[in-house]
Each structure stands twice: as structure tokens, then as C-alpha cells.
């Protein structure tokens, strides 16, 4: 709250409204007011930007972004690295 500002303290936008905006579903009434709030409120713009980032990432997904397991040798190397030369298990703790 900044009582010295002339602007009336407007409640921040809800997550639901921001999510609707990010997904392009904000045509319903209230969007104008929301946009006016966004123009003034850096916090809400920041929250919207984080959701826009999700939508942008989704639009950019390419086949190589799908999870691909590493080859077997990676696990063997890990075990080799973590196994002391004696072959005994590392002491717990």
C-alpha cells in the first residue's frame, strides 16, 4: 500500500485471471480493467511474464526436448567413481 500515491489501491490480479490472459482467454468482461491494472502494476506484469514464459516454452517444444535416458555406460561410470578400490561399499553417513 502506498497511501501517498494518487492511485487508488487496486487489488492485484488473481492467478486465475493472469492464467486466462496468458492462455488468451481473457475476452470476457473485466479484461479492460485488468489491462489497466497491468499497465500500472509491475508485480502483476512480472507474474504474467512468468506464465507467458510457460506458454512460449510450450509453443517452442521440439522433439529433442523430450527426455532421453543416458546410455548404460553413464551409470557404470558413476558406480566406478563411487566404489572405493577395495570394492567395499562406502560407509553410510
Amino acid at each position: 500500500m502506498t497511501p501517498h500515491r494518487r492511485e487508488v489501491a487496486v487489488p492485484h490480479l488473481t492467478h486465475d485471471l493472469l492464467a486466462d490472459l496468458a492462455l488468451g482467454n481473457a475476452a470476457a468482461g473485466g479484461a479492460d480493467e485488468a489491462l489497466r491494472h497491468l499497465a500500472r502494476c509491475g508485480d502483476c506484469r512480472g507474474r504474467l511474464a512468468r506464465l507467458d514464459r510457460v506458454v512460449a516454452a510450450a509453443h517452442g517444444i521440439e522433439e529433442p526436448d523430450l527426455p532421453a535416458a543416458p546410455p548404460e555406460r553413464v551409470w557404470r561410470e558413476i558406480l566406478r567413481e563411487l566404489t572405493p578400490p577395495s570394492g567395499k561399499a562406502e560407509p553410510a553417513g
Binding site: A19, R53, A58, A68, K88, E90
Partner: protein, 200 residues
């Protein structure tokens, strides 16, 4: 480590099984090798894909994957459940190892340049390619959503359908479509932000 079992045989079902993750985290702290293998089985595809996509070199990506899990085992006392879930901790380690690998690459390049021509030795800032990591983490997170929620979000993302159109197409009530989109988007946001130093 005396573990002989191969971690690659059965895939752990993807899913936000928070209880299972908590159990795995607790057992990792107790140096349980079976839990460590299960952790590798569950997260190595994500770690490896993050590394491959940001480094673009399969040898370096394998090396980073290896370092992440070796680091997780040796640094297991540094995992604290109350500070965040196991997956986010592993993703955080992965982000740091990727930055290290990129920095090492920059140093090699700078040295080579300096040796060749005494060129400027100012190092370009080493930042991980955020956009590509966002995509890899998003795919991983999508897989952990409930199937209905995933289907609905995919329609919103890839077919650019509005809530109303999705409701009409699927027969799912509009209110349910809306809440799946809103909650789902929140989960995906948390998913792509996990392991970031400033992430809540």
C-alpha cells in the same frame, strides 16, 4: 558402492508422486544405495536431456549427467526436504553443472584464442540457455500432470483452443476446463522454475 543392479531395466512411472520422492530423499540421506539407483532411474533422463540440449555435445552431456549424480551422492547431506523436493534439488545441481561446463568451454576457447592471436581475453558471460531448459523442464512437468489436465493444456497450447472450445470438443464442463488450465499452468510454471536460486 556395492550396488550391482542395473537401474535401466524398469522405468519408474512418471508422476508427481511426492510421497515416493520424499521417501527417496530420506533414504538418500541415509546413504541407501537402492534408493540412489531408483533416483538415477527416475531423474537421469531429465538431467541428461537438460545437459544435452544446453551443451549440444553428447560426450559433455554424459559427463555432466555423471557429475550430477556423483555430486548428489557425495553431497547427500546437503539435501534438506524442508527446503524443497528432491527433484528440484537435482535440477538445481544440474543447472550449476551445466553452467560450469559452459564456463570451462569458454575458458578453453579464450585460451585458444589468446594463444592464437592474443585476442581480447574478456570472457563473455556464461549463462545457461534458459529457453531450452524451460522446454525440457516443461515436457518433464507435463508428463507428471494428470492425463485429463495434460490433454486439456495441450489443446490450449498446441491447438490454440479457448476454454469454451475445449469444453465443447471434449464434453468436459467449462468450469472444470478452466480450473485444469489455471492449476496446470501454475504447476508448469513451478516446474520450469525449479532449481533456480531465487525460486520459491
Amino acid at each position: 558402492m556395492s550396488l550391482r543392479t542395473s537401474p535401466g531395466t524398469t522405468a519408474v512411472a512418471p508422476g508427481g508422486d511426492a510421497l515416493l520422492d520424499e521417501e527417496l530423499g530420506r533414504r538418500l540421506r541415509e546413504a541407501d544405495e537402492v534408493a540412489f539407483a531408483a533416483i538415477y532411474r527416475k531423474w537421469s533422463p531429465l538431467v541428461h536431456t537438460m545437459a544435452t540440449r544446453s551443451l549440444g555435445d553428447s560426450w559433455e552431456a554424459e559427463d555432466v549427467t555423471q557429475q550430477v549424480f556423483i555430486g548428489a551422492w557425495r553431497g547427500r547431506a546437503g539435501f534438506h526436504q524442508e527446503r524443497g523436493p528432491l527433484g528440484a534439488w537435482l535440477v538445481g545441481i544440474t543447472r550449476r553443472k551445466i553452467i560450469d561446463a559452459l564456463a570451462a568451454r569458454t575458458r578453453r576457447l579464450t585460451l585458444a584464442k589468446a594463444a592464437a592471436s592474443m585476442a581480447e581475453t574478456t570472457q563473455p558471460p556464461t549463462a545457461p540457455p534458459e529457453a531450452v531448459l524451460d522446454r525440457v523442464l516443461l515436457v518433464h512437468e507435463l508428463a507428471s500432470l494428470a492425463p485429463v489436465q495434460r490433454e486439456i493444456l495441450c489443446m490450449a497450447f498446441f491447438d490454440d483452443l479457448t476454454h469454451t472450445q475445449i469444453a465443447r470438443r471434449t464434453g468436459i464442463p467449462l468450469g472444470t476446463v478452466k480450473s485444469h488450465c489455471r492449476r496446470g499452468l501454475q504447476k508448469l510454471r513451478d516446474g520450469i522454475e525449479q532449481g533456480l536460486p531465487e525460486a520459491a
